[in-house]
């Protein structure tokens, strides 16, 4: 088995999930409670990675990170290196690619919190931010857990975007799914089978754990 690729995938998935959580809490709050008329536009953009082929997303990300785009040039002047085919580039791509898997469970859980509880908190003099951490977040734990699990698992299994943006550099951008692909291409079925079985086991365990924790929630048949 390619332990280096496994370690890299786990590290990438952990960092992606952490970044998505930081980004996702305010964004999901806004999506759950904003009354802006153009909210549906943001919802559509957030959901895009669900339907877009990974190669298409990867292609545009590659263009955006390239030296001809202002973002790519800006990154290079700031950090002194280019984004494509680097771990940082892969991280940015993963965050965008897994965005809906974090945002949607969070936003659904926040929106399901009884409005009366939120207003009761405000009337008791507690600010909107503290109301979020004292009422909304604790009552949304199942949705937050689901978002973390789905974002982590989805990043762990991503393939198309990695190939487009990250390439296949061992120790830098070669993830576990790319490693399996390489092994199969090289007719190296033994390690491919072991790595695939590992991913299958991990996915099954993580989802079982999540469902088990949520078994008393009202809708056991769906994660989102």
């Amino acid at each position: 088995m390619d332990w280096q690729a496994i370690r890299l995938s786990l590290w990438l998935a952990s960092l992606t999930t952490a970044l998505l959580l930081v980004l996702g809490l305010p964004l999901a709050y806004w999506l759950a409670f904003s009354r802006r008329r153009w909210k549906f536009l943001v919802e559509a953009v957030v959901a895009m990675p669900l339907v877009l082929p990974p190669t298409v997303l990867g292609f545009y990300l590659l263009l955006a990170m390239g030296p001809r785009s202002p973002f790519g040039r800006g990154w290079e002047t700031l950090f002194g290196r280019t984004l494509p085919f680097s771990f940082e580039g892969l991280l940015i791509a993963s965050v965008l690619y897994s965005l809906p898997f974090m945002i949607q469970p969070l936003a659904a859980a926040f929106a399901a919190v009884d409005r009366g509880l939120i207003e009761a908190s405000w009337c008791l003099g507690v600010s909107r931010l503290r109301t979020f951490f004292r009422v909304i977040a604790p009552l949304s734990w199942a949705g937050i857990l689901t978002g973390i699990v789905l974002a982590f698992a989805h990043t762990l299994g991503e393939f198309g975007v990695v190939l487009m943006v990250g390439g296949n550099l061992p120790g830098r951008t070669r993830t576990v799914s790319v490693a399996i692909y390489d092994q199969v291409q090289a007719m190296d079925y033994g390690p491919a089978a072991r790595t695939a079985a590992l991913l299958l086991g991990v996915s099954f365990l993580v989802l079982t754990f999540t469902y088990a924790l949520r078994r008393h929630q009202r809708k056991p048949w769906t994660l989102i």
């Binding site: 009884d114 207003e119 009761a120 405000w122 009337c123 003099g125 507690v126 009552l139």
Partner: protein, 364 residues
Amino acid sequence: MDAHLTCRAERRFPGGTTVEATLQIPAPGFSVTVLFGPSGSGKTTVLRLLAGLERADTGSIRLGGTTWSDANRGIHLPPQARNLGFLPQAYSLFPHLSVADNLAYGLDVQPVPERAARVGELLALLDLQGLAERRPAELSGGQQQRVALGRALARRPGLLLLDEPLSALDQPAQLRLRRELRDLLRRLDIPTVLVTHDRAEALHLGDRLVVMDQGRVCQSGDIQAVFDRPTDPAVARILGVETVVRGEVESIVEGLATLRVGPARILAADPGGLGHGAFACIRGEDVAVERSSGPAPGSTARNRLPARITALSPEGALMRVGLDCGFPLAALVTRQACLDLGLSEGDQVCAILKAAAVHLIPHD
């Protein structure tokens, strides 16, 4: 001198509904202002405007010299800055927190010992000792109501807003808590605005009454005065006066007006300002029913109207008797009286009515 609370504001909802909030509380200290009206009349919206949960489109709200809201100047204090106690209709206790943590929820700026002391006080005040560690789901309806009230009182608010505080309870609990609630509010000495659609609850708890219908305030003032002298028939109907009929004023002699309603004539005290039309408001409790139709010697009742019984329907210990005396009239009598007289539908009887119990509302 300015009133303690002055609210003259309006909220326009998309779709054309408008709710107007006009009310005053003359002085700080204990008083209960009841917002009364049928469901959908905008009572809760008025409470939400006061709480700052709705933003007024026009007008202003001031309490004790502080401007809470002024649409012209773009002022809108959020609920957090109004120091009020709000008891929502559904209580909205935090389900993930214990009773003690619910009570202490708004006190997190205070040091821990003071917070604990205040929670202890509230548990004692609301008779919740021994329940501090329970979750809201483990409490009865009455206990939940008291925890929600305690939570609203924790920060010693300057204004208390209660939305249908007793409606989620069963009938016996409601009756018991009505008296307790009024006593408690008196001890707390906080001006209170209370929403209800229950006439008995309004009469039990209120000092002042604001009658609302279809988003506007129809009448407001001292509670007994509003109940006794509704200014228009819609208010009378909302207040639950059984009979509201329109008639022509025939004559006014020595403070006594004669009103012609269809073929019948009713004598009533002249409220002043009568033109040729008026509504007569008659409560079912004020109408008696007799078998004899001749004049009764020794009665002070000025109105004796021949009538036919059109309907009999039980209402608790009472019987509602529908009468046709040229206009529909409802009487509320005890069931026993009904049995003793052997009343049944179609019987010819006599409806007895004191002139003083007929309330006239001028209407041209």
